[in-house]
Symmetry: D3
């Protein structure tokens, strides 16, 4: 088997994390997984949603969108159609859940961080790129909160472990890492995996496209994802230290 | 560890499948997983969505809803609020994808089957009950199609393998099968697994609620789910033969 | 004239009222008028709508829905279409108005009871079945309120008279009671009547489908409805005592 | 009993019908029931709704709206709120049904007439004024259709009988005709009646506001409405001949 | 060049301002620019929008709508379509901005005046007629506020200068004033100008329809508009004194 | 007077036009007016809106959006709120109208070009930056159409003149060019001007924020805008030749 991009089966695309990409947000990261480019911004706001008020905990939530021509053919603008599609809703719920798993909500005080992931250019893997970039943007926003004295207890780290995500799938019968669009659209199975720095699993979402996959294939995918996420964690760390 | 219901860790709730529960639909199954009761109806309609026209293949799709007072406290009616919530959208997409994986769309001709899964009473696991009941309702509808001569090739079986789903999770530190509401709301991790009769994996959706889960836990959950789904497949078969 | 069902002109369908049909709601009644099956649940909530706050009175309201395949051909799901149709709005307003006419709102304190009427299977007369079943569900919920000490004055009965409804119409030139779907869809006139136990009229909604109807026909319809509702009141009473 | 306006119990308000009130519509009538002023326009359009195509029959439908400050306190504009309220939907369905009962849809050919009833000033009875004015606007539009040769058979009259509507109610214990706003808001019962010229009943919609009403009261209301509608029919005829 | 109406290039249509056209609103003006007829009502309400609370200033806002058959062919009702079109939104924002420029918001106290401009009949220039009529309705509402003691400081005039608007355009190569529909639909350029009584410019909105226009044309248009608005101010004054 | 940025009154911000900023669109330009950054993409699609079919002409339309955190405080995402705000609608209509004025629609054949202007970072003047960038993206897309043989007549240039836009305003009593956010939010008057390369006026939209402005001020603004737009046209040309 030959990947369309010529990559090794377990090889990530070129990953770039550009912090402070825009000037207004408390965290602003352009994440690139090859030709997939997502702008992740983090916004700090006082207060929490109604159902959490008075409990002393914070909240982290995410929204996701694609620019209409981030894709090969133009998609209708969701704002113009008057509603977010099912895929959008699914993805932003996944991003939000993943980030909350990485954060100690008690340590935030009654503040909300909203992560916006907007896809400028899509080439497969926008949700995993979003989570990986959002992790860094969130970390930057938490540093701003610390600086501004918004964290109730300076000794408790609000994000003990970094978080990242990658896709794995079965392409042309073989397990491959970090699918780009040509692979994604022809894959037999597709799995998105979110992991914390220590190796703990946060989300596993696998879908058979045509035929079901076996437990053995599943195990191979999981192990390859683990390797990829470990590399992403290193890149995140380098970016935050850079 | 003691499960609130007193069940063994790998024990399903009492499962009931009542076919022909209502009279109009081509397939109509009331599925009960303990106190969770979902009415699954299958509707045959001529034609397919616009993006598929002229390709000679059929389509299977699903919609999901909860009656406002199927739950402990009343939820606002989605029709009155003017939009389906994110959870509803996620679930109905999962049901639809799962069913399509079990069906040979080519064998349907240009016809659409819509499965409606409406929760009459909720007690945890409504999505897995929905898929399990929908599998049977779909099978009934396909038999109606065969009778009516709507299948283009009488020799090709449109649903080669039955499909079922179950949840597994980590409750009080231990892996348990088929979580009911008291377990679900306190679980540390929750996974929904959809499998075909032969044991192939169709969907795996695992989420860590608080702390990440390990690969070992993951493997235990997968294996317990496999056992549970095998029992569900037996019950489906018995129901269809009954 | 022969009714399609073989019933006498002034004969109701078989009526069944099953209380405690689901477990969460404070009142939960499955009402069956022949093949028409409606699940009526009553939910008690603290507080009243904004326009009534501080007046010390309670509120009773209703919502109505049909499962997509409760009918012979599938109807689009209102939640998916993003709005309730005109017929739905009309019916739920009628149910709510009728129930409020039977209840002493002052006796409720500032609490709201919401009645959800969801049609599981339709065969004509869903609105009259809904009102009849809702009367019983409401009565059960009021008993729960009494038990929980939510009624401000234990000596004032919040629902002095039971309420029920029935349809009458002109089918094949003759006045008939409690029309089923085959009659309803071919009727020359259709009237829904809501009455209190003592015989007082609460709502009268008559519509000529093709030709106008005469005052004499109108009088016959009214008198036949009165007889039918009296039987429904007996069945409601028996159910509540059972 | 003294009516707030000093009218006799069976006395209509001053009724005015002004034809050709605006210049674009095929029928355009300003109808005034005292201070209630409604502009009724009729629009002829080729074609019928999808569900009727190819049957050779026409369609008549109605829409209703109130200008935001047609009332004592401003109501939110429905276009700005993004949806028509339940009362609006109920009223426009009533107007449409009533007009269709007066028209021979076969005689229209596959054309649609839309009646818009827009309330410029409200003082009670806007729905009965709307139906009464719409009857005249519809008649004017049908004359235009005849002139333009749009009616398939010149010998079949498309609107054999004129149609009108009036309200009756119980105010201060007594039955009164054509309630204005001060009466309407204090009435014990309220009934809207639509009749054809020959005296046939088209719609009867009675509602008890506080206590139920008796059959005897009902009969008195019906008879008083009959007298009022007969006067309205005379005024409509005079207007059309004027 | 000959204008379709036979008017001189710098001649307004016949302008009429009828105050107290309806009885409920605090200001109610029917404004007619030839066959264009707009009902402008002003409503006084306590309080201001959330973003202004506690600042002691008032607010003026406008809403605009067209009756469905105010035009040559029927337009869909915006309330039924569930949203206001882009043109509607643009126009009501223009009206609101213009009126606020004429009013001293500090002098209003924390009160809101809402101007509704509803087009009964359209023949070009509905937005300029709306602003001109709204100026008078607003002036009437302010007089009511003064009478009712709602203005915090009786010595500060809340509307120092009257406001009016007119269109100018290039029709058949020549600059013309106050375009009616036949001119408007064939104009090469179209400009709406809003001015205060003293001659100050409040809004200038010019659009080239086909070819761009020159600065010289622009200057001619501006000067002709100035003349027209000065006549409108005289008519407004006469109306308010009448 | 000192501008907050230290610029001369008639000095533009630093303008950058980056073509081929993303890879999928037929035209893709990142335009920067200082810190204002807008991504303008042009999409070619076969066919025209229904109301234009069969006329042989093409269509150009625009949509506008701001990323939620392109601004100092986060704005709610329009897709999530389910509707585009009034400001968005106004701006995208302005962009579309302006571009159509620069294009020969006959020369496009029955094709549609959609320009998406998405604001990545806002600092005042997003609509004028959008038009200026969109002009270049449109030009690139037209070149693609030519290459692909989609233009019906190769000898007719579909965009005879480039188009650009700039804002002018009165800040601290003085006329200034190309307002940034600190100026815009404090300006006494604000005007957006769109011009074709030859100097023809396409759109003039001037608004007095507090006090009306005089004709003399108006003339100064117009002349300063003309100078700025001429510089923008030079930059556009250089970019297209680069």
């Amino acid at each position: 088997m030959q990947r369309p991009s010529g990559r090794q089966p377990d090889q990530l695309r070129k990953i770039t994390l550009t912090r402070q990409y825009t000037k207004h947000a408390e965290g602003s990261v352009l994440v690139e997984f090859g030709d997939t480019k997502v702008l992740c911004t983090a916004t700090i706001e006082e207060g929490v949603p109604r159902f959490m008020r008075g409990e002393g905990r914070g909240w982290v939530t995410a929204e996701y969108g694609m620019l209409p021509r981030s894709t090969g053919t133009r998609m209708g603008r969701e704002a113009a159609r008057g509603k977010q599609g099912g895929r959008t809703v699914e993805i932003q719920r996944l991003i939000g859940r993943s980030l909350r798993a990485a954060v100690n909500l008690e340590a935030l005080g009654e503040n909300t961080i909203t992560i916006d992931c907007d896809v400028l250019q899509a080439d497969g893997g926008t949700r995993t790129a979003s989570i990986t970039g959002a992790g860094v943007a969130l970390s930057d926003a938490l540093a701003v909160m610390k600086e501004r004295g918004l964290l109730p207890d300076a000794d408790v780290h609000p994000m003990p472990n970094m978080i990242a995500a990658v896709s794995v799938g079965i392409f042309d019968g073989e397990v491959v890492l970090d699918l780009d669009y040509p692979e994604d659209s022809a894959a037999e199975a597709d799995m998105n995996i979110v992991m914390c720095e220590g190796g703990g699993l946060v989300e596993v979402q696998g879908t058979a496209e045509a035929d079901p996959f076996t437990e053995a294939q599943f195990a191979t995918m999981l192990s390859m994802a683990k390797k990829g996420i470990s590399e992403l964690h290193d890149l995140q760390k380098a970016s935050l230290e850079g």
